[in-house]
């Protein structure tokens, strides 16, 4: 078993390495950091441009494989490289991952719990009013892109704040640095700023998961082993939870593990619209800013987290479904 896990882990490391290398090479050949010097007044001399770009290993005149070699060498020494403006990618990365984690933790967990519970409940009440209301509700939310939900919530909050006459809900950034008060006022302020992004994340996550959970649960409800469980005298509740839900959880768990393990990757739209300076926002900014080294670093982090999720998922599925023998 230990040997199997080690082999699997090595395989995963190789995968992340290949993915990151691909991302680096694609980014290094597609993006153009030199564009930052365009339109500067007074114009920056080409030699100066080269000097600066060389310092950060971003010069497009250096052959791409040489740049890749330098990048690998730095990586081997634990150095993720520099931004186009000289910042350290590693420092930015850890700061932004923490911001994203704070933002996504509550929303993701709430989304998972609400999604599974609502899906299972809807399946059990198949074609009754509860099922119809939940399914149509989930469909409607799923039909609203995150950026539409986020903007609508902002409009709603603005209206509410105007109606009340004070800023009841804040939705820009992580907290308000000008807010007076001590520790608890600060925590309250942070929670206040979390309300809208958390609702956004929860709605999107829950509606997606709910439909999968309902579908899986419906497939299981008619199966022999659930009927057997009932026939041998189990109460309906026990049969549903221990025999039906347990098997029906598998597809949802697969999806949820991904969502949970990737919370540090960030939520691109939610972060951008609500002004959280996390990984998701960085994701967009690095590409818009042609920041090759940061793009490669983000790919590496995403890769590691997804593989961690995939590993976790294998374990959870094996626990839930005795029929699946891993390997």
């Amino acid at each position: 078993m230990g040997k199997y896990l080690v082999r699997r882990l090595v395989n995963y490391v190789v995968l992340v390495f290949i993915a990151t290398s691909m991302a680096y090479l694609l980014a290094a050949t597609s993006l153009n950091p030199r564009a930052h010097f365009l339109g500067r007044n007074p114009p920056v001399p080409v030699t100066t441009q080269d000097d600066i770009l060389n310092r950060y290993n971003l010069n497009d005149k250096t052959p791409v494989l040489d740049r890749y070699g330098t990048w690998l060498d730095n990586l081997a020494h634990g150095n993720l490289g520099r931004d186009y403006d000289g910042g350290y990618v590693g420092a930015n990365l850890s700061r932004r991952m923490w911001v994203s984690g704070q933002l996504l933790l509550i929303g993701t967990i709430l989304g998972g719990l609400v999604g599974v519970a609502a899906g299972a409940w809807a399946a059990v009440r198949h074609k009754k009013a509860t099922d119809i209301a939940l399914t149509q509700g989930a469909f409607f939310i799923l039909s609203c892109p995150v950026f539409v939900i986020a903007i609508l919530l902002q409009v709603g909050a603005t209206r509410l704040n105007n109606a009340v006459g004070s800023r009841l809900i804040s939705f820009s950034g992580q907290f308000d640095p000008a807010k007076p008060g001590g520790f608890f006022a600060h925590i309250g302020d942070r929670l206040d700023h979390l309300i809208l992004p958390t609702i956004t994340l929860m709605l999107a996550g829950a509606s997606y998961l709910m439909l999968y959970q309902r579908s899986a649960m419906l497939d299981v409800l008619g199966s022999d082993y659930v009927r057997t469980a009932r026939a041998k005298g189990l109460r309906r509740r026990t049969a549903l939870i221990k025999h039906a839900l347990r098997t029906a959880l598998i597809p949802s768990v697969t999806l949820f593990t991904y969502a949970f393990a990737t919370i540090f990757v960030g939520a691109t739209f939610t972060e951008t619209i609500f002004g959280w300076h996390g990984m998701g926002e960085w994701f967009v900014q690095t590409i818009q800013g042609s920041d090759t080294n940061a793009v490669a670093a983000i790919t590496a982090v995403v890769g590691v987290l997804i593989l961690f999720a995939s590993f976790l998922q294998d374990v959870v599925v094996a626990i839930l479904d005795p029929r699946v023998r891993v390997g």
Binding site: L15, A19, M22, F140, L218, A244, T254, T268, F283
Partner: protein
């Protein structure tokens, strides 16, 4: 996903009249497709979704013909006007007619969504079932590929490549399709692992039926509901990814428009000039809603036995 026998008998006797047994030989048993179609059409929400989609598609393609404005020709006499008889959806700050622009963006989303969903779900079904059924090195190789594509953040790669596919629709569709089938492929593989131990699959196998045929005849039909839900979700995912990429400026790019670029442009003024946000966002939401309702209707039509009470 077998058709319950009561329903077949019910259909046959209904068609063959009172003396059912005599007419039974002459009456063809309705095909599975017809039964599913009938069930599909008997659901109000599915029918509503279908009609809604039809209206939206017609509007997207016929609307620009009826309207006298073109998305690429601004009306320099009206900037930021509210919806009226001439500009049905109003205009934006450059005088562009929002109706023409919204319909143009909708055409893009519809085509991209459908093509990408078909591509992605087919890939997921074939790769997942092949890996799960054959196992051994085929499984290892395919899952390695799936894992590799999964660890590459698709949104990022598509965004990086955006300067290269610059409004090339075919390339954009293939790129989107290549990146959204992996999770489903893993789920399909997982389900195939338990399905291949079932009696009817083993029976077929020992009777000498070939692997690809078993996958096509026994494995995939059993995953039909999963794949249909997935294809539905994939249409949404594709449209969402397209509009999302465009929202950040990585998808459809100027001078062309997309629902994503329109919503992005309206983001800051959603409170003060609501029509700029509401029309493109509303069209997008209705489009996704219609597609989702159809998917749900198909699911129930394929699998009415799923709701047996415990």
């Amino acid at each position: 996903m077998t058709v319950p026998s009561q329903e077949l008998i019910g259909t046959v006797t209904a068609e063959s009249g009172i003396d059912g047994t005599a007419a039974l030989d002459e009456t063809a048993v309705p095909s599975r497709g017809r039964i599913i179609l009938k069930r599909f059409l008997s659901q109000k929400s599915a029918l509503f979704g279908f009609v809604l989609l039809l209206i939206l598609v017609l509007l997207a393609y016929l609307g620009p013909v009826i309207s006298k404005w073109d998305y690429s020709q601004p009306d320099y006499n009206s900037f930021l006007v509210t919806p009226n008889g001439s500009h049905w959806f109003g205009t934006d700050g450059t005088g562009t007619d929002l109706f023409a622009a919204t319909m143009r963006g909708a055409q893009k989303s519809i085509i991209i969504g459908l093509l990408v969903a078909v591509l992605a779900t087919s890939m997921a079904a074939i790769v997942g079932a092949t890996a799960g059924y054959f196992g051994k090195w085929i499984d290892a190789a395919l899952m390695w590929l799936v894992n590799l594509l999964l660890v590459i953040p698709s949104f990022l790669i598509i965004a990086i490549l955006s300067p290269r596919y610059h409004n090339n629709l075919t390339l954009f569709v293939i790129l989107l399709g290549m990146f959204i089938w992996q999770i489903t492929a893993r789920i399909v593989r997982g389900q195939t692992l338990s399905l291949r131990e079932r009696e009817y699959v083993l029976a077929a196998k020992y009777m000498g039926v070939s692997g690809p045929r078993i996958i096509a005849r026994h494995i995939l039909p059993n995953l039909a509901s999963l794949l249909i839900i997935d294809a539905t979700v994939n249409v949404s995912v594709a449209v969402l990814t397209e509009t999302g990429l465009s929202f950040f400026g990585f998808g459809v790019q100027p001078p062309d428009v997309s629902l994503g670029t329109l919503i992005e442009a309206a983001q800051t003024s959603a409170t003060t000039q609501p029509w700029l946000f509401l029309f493109p966002a509303g069209f997008l939401v209705l489009l996704l809603l219609a597609v989702n309702l159809i998917g749900q209707g198909l699911r129930d039509a394929f699998d009415p036995s799923a709701g047996v009470a415990v």
